[in-house]
Symmetry: C2
Subunit: 137 residues, 2 copies
């Protein structure tokens, strides 16, 4: 495990594995929940917000992570599956706990065919379910 794997994951997405990016990726992997920019800034207390921000943008652009708007007012980020393509067929579903405010990625949520209005074309989608997580109910 460890550093070498992280480096590989970045390189697989054509991202230079700099020290800062490794820290950000490491933190995202360690977290079981989606993290906001502010969350990461706190977790990596040595790091500059802008640098984390640009790391996240780069990661997202290269499909290493995806962003989630869970209704808290700040965008959260979470790792994509290795084969993630962020297409409608691979909709990212997330669960936001209204009590502890954590946002979980839900894998394997199967969504049905979408019956969109005529001539509307889906490119991707996001599904956020809100409620109580197992610790907070």
């Amino acid at each position: 495990m460890g550093q070498q794997n992280l480096i590989k994951e970045l390189e697989n997405r054509a991202i230079s594995p700099t020290a800062m990016r490794l820290l950000v990726l490491d933190q995202l992997k360690k977290a079981s929940v989606a993290m906001s920019l502010a969350d990461l800034e706190i977790a990596l207390d040595q790091a500059d917000r802008t640098t984390i921000y640009r790391s996240l943008k780069k990661f997202e652009e290269n499909k290493l992570i995806h962003s989630i708007e869970d209704g808290t007012g700040s965008v959260k980020y979470a790792l994509c599956e290795s084969n993630c393509q962020c297409t409608p067929e691979f909709t990212h579903a997330h669960f936001h706990c209204n009590n502890c405010e954590q946002t979980f990625c839900l894998r394997n949520v199967h969504l049905p065919d979408l019956s969109l209005p005529k001539n509307f074309v889906a490119e991707n989608s996001s599904f956020v379910i809100k409620g109580r997580c197992d610790h907070c109910r």
Copy 2:
């Protein structure tokens, strides 16, 4: 049509029908798409942002409208159906056009049973599909 109906709609939700609130509701009804606070501020150029903001909060609190995070960075608002309860069974689905940046409410989108992790309880949910609308494809 008109003023009397708007007044009734507010009163049905236990909202005092003030002049400003009628303007905001009227605008939301006229718009075929979801509107942000900034959108409303422009549309109702005589109105103060704070007043619109508080109208929207009141409307949302009393379930006259619902809010949507469509990924643009600003929250949008749209009218609820008259029988809307904003529960998981009545999930609000929306379509955001990546080209013209408009957000449409999708009625009658049927979502499947959600297979949540054990002990997770859904209270409501939001589903945003992104792509191209009929005018922009």
